[in-house]
Each structure stands twice: as C-alpha cells, then as structure tokens.
C-alpha cells in the first residue's frame, strides 16, 4: 500500500469518526423526537442538520472552566482519555477489503484494550471532580466496567476459536466462507451487544450518568468542550461498538455485489446505531445491583457455556 494512501485512510478514519459523532448529536435527537411523537431539532439548516455544527461551535466557544476544588490535571486529562482510546480503537476496524488503518494480528485484543482504557476516563473524571454525585457516578462506572469487561472478552472467544485468529480481517474473511457468526455464535452476539452498550454507557446501562439519580453523574462538574469530549467519546464508542458488532457478527463489508463493500459496512453499522438509539427510547434503567446480578448470574454463565459448546464443536466436529 502506498504511503499516501495510509495517511489518507488514517485521516479519513479520524474525520469520519468525528464527523459521525457530530452528526449523531443531531441524528439521535431527531430520531428520538420521531419516536416520541415530537419533531426534535428542526431549526438550523435543512431538517435541522445544522444543529451538529451549531453545537460544536457552541461547545468550543464556551468558557473553559475548571472548578477550584477539583484535581486540575486529572480533571483536564480525563475527557481526553476517552476520545483517544475510542479513536485508537478505530485503527483496527476493517471498513472494506484493504481499507483499514492497520491489520493487527491481535486486533480483537487491541480493541478490547482500548475500550477498557476508556473506563479510566469516566472513573478519573468522577474522582477528580471532587463532587459527591460525580464520585458516585465514578464508583458505579468502575463496578459496571469490571463486571461487563469480563464477559465482553469471553463472548468473543467463540468467534476467535472458529476463526483461529484475532485479526478482524481474518474474522470477516472466515465469515465469507462459514456464514455470519451471528448464526453460529448467537449467544456470543447477545452477550457482546449487552457488554457493548454497557461499555459505551448508554441507556439502559447509563448508570454512571443516570441523570434522574445522580444529576449528571461523573460529568456533573464538566462544561464546555471538556463536557463535549465526554459526549464525543460516548458517540465514538457507540459508532465503534456498532462497527465491531457489524464486523464480528454480521460479516463486516460482506454483501451482494451491487453495492461496494464499504457501503455494506456503513449500512450495517448504521442499523446498529439506530438500534442503540431505539433502546434508549424504549427501556427503563435497571438498578445498579440488578445490573451486576444480571451480568454475573446470567450473562457470564451464558458466555461460558457458549464457549464450552463452541470449543467442543471445534474439537470434535
């Protein structure tokens, strides 16, 4: 691959991800509006799409304020961590044959490592704010991530066994032969999706934020672009998880020939993004201990059984 092409893909990925996140600000609110019998933002530009730009300008123009009682360095660092981690996660996503930043042979591990790092952002943000609500949010996120991290990894091991590789490109290519993994690894898919929502802490797994309980949870003290970074991080996470589900379980770029592969990838990812937004519109939030119980008592055994069965199938069939 020529050098300029790599740079082109790198910048394309960064701008694509950021642009996607910015448009999601508008898109999510618009979609929620439609589902909730109202209009949603429709004033700026056609269909209100200018809102994405207006929001970004507003966030940049706001006062960059650090509360005097906060731990200054950590307070500023925390929101950057989530954006960095999520962006790095995009490095291993294969958008189409040959269009990826890098094809690591440990891509799956790298992806999980990066999403785990994003947890620090929430935890540190909660701690550094020196605010009781933020602290509770930080605590909750720590507990939530520790539990959901475990079977997020386990849920993917079935796929790894079937493919025999951690490389995402290999995983997609294997699906071309063996069919989408959503069929053979259905339970893995369910568990991964749950863990994915938890990882990007969106409703019903938005306990660290839980505006009805903790005001704004871990980012109570954040404003301006630092708050914006958390939001961008959340949307980046949403896109990343959606594209991972699409890559690992739904055949990535695979699809009939009348559309180029990258379109298939985009469409599939888009469907999952919509699905996540729909979840937000539909489901109430479980309590924090109920969430833990659900994770440890139901999802973890499910992924373990899935792993055993897959192992048995790979070994004996």
């Amino acid at each position: 691959m020529p050098g300029w092409l790599i740079y082109f893909i790198i910048f394309g990925t960064i701008f694509g991800a950021f642009g996607g996140a910015a448009v999601l600000i508008w898109f999510e609110r618009r979609l929620l509006g439609i589902w909730q019998d109202r209009l949603g933002p429709n004033r700026v530009g056609p269909l209100g799409i200018g809102l994405a730009l207006a929001d970004v300008i507003k966030l940049f123009a706001k006062e960059d304020w650090v509360p005097p009682f906060a731990d200054k360095f950590v307070f500023v660092f925390a929101p950057t961590a989530i954006v960095m981690a999520m962006l790095l996660g995009f490095a291993v996503v294969p958008f189409a044959p040959g269009i990826h930043v890098i094809d690591l042979n440990i891509a799956l591990l790298f992806f999980m490592g990066m999403t785990s790092l994003a947890v620090y952002s929430v935890m540190l943000g909660g701690l550094a704010s020196n605010n009781k609500y933020a602290l509770l949010g930080g605590l909750r996120s720590a507990a939530q991530m520790v539990s959901y991290e475990v079977f997020m990894g386990l849920s993917l091991m079935g796929v790894v066994m079937l493919t025999g590789s951690f490389s995402l490109v290999d995983i997609v290519n294997t699906q071309a032969e063996k069919g989408w993994f959503v069929f053979s690894q259905f339970f893995g898919f369910v568990a991964f999706m749950m863990a994915g929502i938890a990882e990007s802490h969106r409703l019903p797994f938005d306990l660290p934020e839980a505006e009805h309980e903790l005001v704004a949870g871990f980012h109570t003290e954040y404003s301006g672009m630092k708050f914006g970074m958390f939001m961008v991080g959340e949307y980046l996470g949403l896109i990343l998880i959606s594209s991972m589900i699409c890559t690992i379980f739904f055949g990535g770029w695979l699809g009939p020939d009348f559309l180029p592969p990258i379109f298939w990838f985009t469409i599939k990812t888009f469907v999952f993004i919509c699905f996540f937004i729909l979840l937000r519109a539909a489901i109430p939030r479980p309590r924090y201990d109920q969430l833990m119980i659900f994770g440890w008592q139901y999802l973890l055994p499910l992924t373990l059984i899935n792993l055993l069965v897959t192992g048995a199938v790979v070994l004996w069939l």
Binding site: D37, R140, H212, A282, I283, P284, R285, P286, R287
Partner: protein
C-alpha cells in the same frame, strides 16, 4: 336540626359520658363537625383515648384569635391550636381546640400519639410561635431559619411594602447560606460509626427528580441510605396569609396554584366551604360541570404522574406520549374555561360561564380516544419487566403506618385500604355517580402507580356519565353572595345593581362562622378550613394539603435502600411542592 348536626351532638354527648372527668366546651360550627374546646392539661390523655376511634390526625393548625370580633360563647383565647382527627372506619371527624393565652404559648407535643404531628407542630411553631414542649426538633419548617417573627400572626406584615426595603448584602448572603448548611448533629445523625464515615448527600433543592424545590439530605453508606432528612419550604408563598388579605372571591386564583397540577380541583373545596358558610345551594348543572372538570384535572394530574414516574425509573419516552394526551385534554379545558393549568374557573355559587357550544363532541372524542392510549401505556410502562423490578417491593408501608403518618389518597389505597372520599363520604354530588375505587394491597411504589392508572379509567367513567346526563338549568346560584352575581336584572332594579357593585368591588360579605370541606383531590385529601369573622375576607384560611404529610414519612420507607430506589419512591408519592409548602 340536620342529620349531621344531630350526629355531631350525639358524638359529643357520647364523649362526655366516656370521659366524665374531662371538661369540654362544645362549639357549633357550620360544617357540623363536633368541635370541642379542651384544656391543655388534658390534651394528651384525650387524644390517646380518641386514637382508637380516630385513626388519623388529619390536620393540626394554629389560629391567631386576637383580632377576632365574633367569638360569642367561646373560651377566651389569644392563640388556638386546632386538632382535626378523622375516623375512616366510621366516616366522621372530630375537631379539638386548645385555647392558649399570649403570655403562655406552650403546649405538650402529641408526636408520641400521632407521629405525623411532628411536622404540623413545627409548622404551627413557625407560623404562630406556638411552643410544643417535648418536641424533638422544633425548628422552622416553611420559612428560612433566619426569619424574624411568625408569619401568620395578625401583627406580622402581609406584604413586602409593609416591611422595610430589602437589601441582600454580601454579609447577609453569607449568613443565609451558612444557615442552609446541613448539620447532621442537629437531626441526631452521626457522622461516622466504627466501620465507616458516612457521606451526606444533598439531594435538592434543585435536582432533576425531586419534582420542584425539595431538598432531602441523605446519610449514605456507599450508596445505601442510612437515614434521610427531608427539608421543605423552598416553595412557600404564604397562601394562607394571602387569604386574609384577598376577598373571598379574589382568592380563588390563588387556590389553583396550591396543587398546580390539580387546576380547578383546587377551587372545589374552597368554594364549597364558602358556599356552606354563606348558605348557598349550587344548581345541579353547576355541580355536574364542577365534577366533570375536576375529574378532567384528575386525569391530567395522573398523566403527569404516569409519565414522570416512568421517566424517573429511566424510561425516556412515555412522558412525551402522556404529555401529548394531556395537551388534548388541555385543549378541552381551554375551550371550556379559557385557561389551561390554572383556569380559576369555579365561582362562589357556581362556575364562571356555561359550557361552550360543541363541548359535547370534544368530550366524547376525548373519551373515545383515551382508553386505547391507556392500554398502550399499560403495555409500555406498567408491564415492563425492568420497571417492575425497580418498583415492586420498594418503599413499602402498611395501612396502619399510612394512617399514622397522615397518608391519604392513592398512597393509602395502595396499602389495601378501601377508602375514597368521593364514594364513602360523597360531596358536591358524587353520590349520583357510578364508579369503582381501585385498591391494591402491597403498598409499594408499583401499587401506588397502579392505583393512579386505574383511577384515570374511573375518572373517564365519571366524565362519561357527566356528559351523558348533564342537567339543564343555570350554572350559577341565585343568591346575593354569588360572585359575580347573575346579571339579568342588574340593569333593571337598584337592589340588584347594588349587590352586583358591592360584590364585585369589595367582594361578598360572608356571615361569621367556621367551616371545613374535604375533597378527594388528585394527590389525596385536600381540606379548606375557613374561619369567617363576618367580613369581605377570611379571618383564617387553613389549607390541609395532602402532599405535606406524604413527604414527612419518606425517611421511614427509604432506609436501607439505594439512591435509585429513593428516586422511585419520590416518583411514586406524586407530590407537588406548592401543595406541600403552600
């Protein structure tokens, strides 16, 4: 003598026989509730005796009697404390009064007999400076701790212009802020035990889930609530004080804003009490219109509850659906009354206007539309398994506890108590309607919500009967005190013109007397207890709001639970801060 007056008399005689060594002085009141003046020394004993019959301390309030002109036959008193007890088994009330002299405003606390007296006594202390000896924490409750004087005393100014100019200096601001600081020791809370240091979390007065300006300070061990101290008063606007300055008529809009989701339902007990004092009989059409509009507002209030309940449990969408249906309802309210949330539309002696042309179709459309939507909401909210997990077995209290703490309305019916004022002690014409009283048995958040959801359906049923059987006739009584009086003859004879002029400019004169009217409002039992001294404004207006005692018992049902549970509890109580603070 009417049946109820006779009943009141026999109740008094019976009490005299059962407590021969006590001294009583009976007072005749217009509402025929047996009213007895008792001695301060005998208060606790009598209340303890009465508790077996009268399960609930329904209300406790003070009255500053120093300027009252018409007190013939009553014992001398500068400050009177009124205890209003209610029996649910026998469907009757009793009112006890204790006279206090200005030089010795002391009284024993009755919090050990009726636990909900705690806040009521604090309120009486706050408003009148009545000292309840033995009270565990007799601090101000509605006014800020820095307030000077007792607001409902007759010598306390009623408007800001009667006081000196107000300056918020930096010093003063610091002082006020310091006064708001929470001191656990003041409430008998420990800062740590041998294992942990507790965190004190200030939930409110501005918090997304406290439905207004309500502050509740939590003593937390991790996220587990060890204890809680609710603090109210941030929404206090002195509605009872304003009543003493407004005319009987011009006070009606203020009542709308007490339970601001209840709209005209707030007018109902007030105008009914004034009508009783004045001896006005309201024509049938007006009575049915009143019931119809009051039930509309019950639906509106319950829809807000329904949506916010789901929202507080984390479900984002239902509130939008419910508000759009509420909007449909408001369109009808607007067509009928001209207003939306606070139409102030009931009048002394009737309602403000007759129903508009085409009202029938509007109501019928709404009645056809709503049941389908309610079925849909049921599926979306009440049958949702996460919501059930979050709200079942959370915030449980028993019927006995509910009665002890003065809980009325849906919160009481959720504990298995089959009592509805509309059915069991009908007022304003409710005896003519056919409806059921939904009752649930667990007393938890989920059941409190279920009661309200079923009540929406019953309200629709009542409205349907109103629409089908709306009587013809006048919408206003033909009585001199009706305000504004019927206009037909105003331009014909001088007598009617004078009445009109006087009633509109000065307001009607209501004969002296005392009267209370209780209704089943949206949040529970709402009572207006009016004292007239024979003038154009009330001598004392006491508003017994249902939400006030509901908040008092929050610590009881939230100990040992988590913060999200507390939010579910707050949502399920369905309170309005204006209804609490008045």
């Amino acid at each position: 003598m009417s049946a109820s007056a006779e009943h009141a008399l026999t109740a008094t005689v019976e009490l005299r026989q059962r407590l021969p060594h006590m001294s009583f002085l009976t007072q005749q009141t217009i509402d025929d509730i047996p009213t007895l003046w008792i001695l301060r020394e005998q208060l606790c004993e009598i209340l303890r005796f009465l508790k077996s019959d009268y399960e609930m301390l329904f209300d406790l309030c003070g009255v500053d009697e120093r300027l009252r002109a018409h007190r013939d036959g009553l014992p001398p008193s500068d400050y009177t404390v009124v205890y209003h007890l209610m029996s649910f088994k026998q469907c009757r009330d009793i009112r006890l009064k204790v006279a206090l002299s200005e030089n010795d405003i002391n009284l024993p606390t009755i919090a050990s007999v009726y636990p909900n007296a705690n806040w009521y006594e604090r309120e009486a202390w706050d408003m009148f400076g009545i000292n309840f000896s033995g009270h565990p924490n007799l601090y101000r409750i509605l006014l800020p701790p820095t307030w000077v004087g007792h607001a409902l005393r007759k010598d306390h100014p009623a408007r800001a212009t009667e006081m000196g100019p107000f300056h918020m200096t930096e010093e003063r601001q610091d002082k006020e802020q310091e006064a708001l600081r929470f001191r656990p020791e003041q409430w008998g809370l420990k800062r740590k035990n041998k294992n942990t240091e507790f965190m004190f979390l200030n939930l409110g007065p501005n918090h997304p889930s406290v439905h207004g300006v309500f502050r509740i300070v939590l003593q937390l061990d991790g996220e587990v609530i060890v204890d809680a101290v609710p603090e109210i008063g941030y929404h206090h606007r002195g509605a009872e004080k304003m009543a003493e300055r407004q005319t009987w008529h011009s006070y009606i809009p203020y009542t709308d804003r007490i339970d601001y989701l209840g709209g005209v339902m707030n007018n109902l007990p007030y105008v009914m009490a004034v009508e009783k004092l004045a001896g006005i009989t309201v024509p049938d059409r007006a009575r049915v219109i009143r019931i119809m509009m009051a039930e509309m507002f019950r639906i509106s209030s319950h829809l807000v509850f329904y949506g916010t309940f789901a929202q507080d449990v984390g479900q984002m969408s239902p509130v939008f659906y419910m508000f759009s249906d509420r909007e449909r309802l408001f369109r009808i309210v607007e067509a009928v009354t001209g207003g939306r949330m606070h139409p102030a539309w009931f009048r002394i002696g009737g309602v403000a206007q007759d129903l508009p042309k085409g009202w029938h179709e509007m109501f019928t459309d709404f009645l056809d539309w709503m049941p389908k939507r309610l079925d849909h909401f049921d599926k979306m909210v009440m049958q949702n398994s996460i919501l059930k997990q979050r709200t079942k077995h959370i915030g449980v209290y028993s019927t006995a506890e509910a009665l002890d703490w003065g809980i009325t309305g849906p919160g009481l019916r959720a504990t298995g108590m089959d009592f509805d004022f509309r059915r069991d002690r009908p007022y304003g014409g409710y005896d003519q309607f056919d409806f059921e009283v939904p009752v649930y048995n667990n007393g938890d958040c989920y059941d409190r919500a279920m009661v309200r959801v079923d009540e929406i359906r019953q309200s629709l049923r009542i409205i349907r009967q109103c629409v089908a059987n709306m009587p013809a006739g006048p919408y206003k009584a033909d009585h001199p005190a009706t305000t504004p009086p019927p206009r037909e003859r105003t331009m014909q004879d001088i007598e009617t013109l004078i009445h009109h002029f006087v009633n509109v400019s000065w307001g009607p004169v209501i004969p002296e007397g005392e009267c209370s009217v209780t209704i089943e409002a949206t949040k529970g039992l709402n009572m207006y207890y009016l004292t007239s001294d024979g003038g154009t404004n009330s001598y004392r207006t006491r508003i017994r709001a249902p939400s006030f005692p509901h908040l008092q018992q929050i610590p009881l049902i939230s100990r040992g639970l988590l913060i999200p549970d507390l939010i579910a509890i707050l949502a399920s109580i369905d309170f309005v801060m204006a209804d609490v603070d008045r």
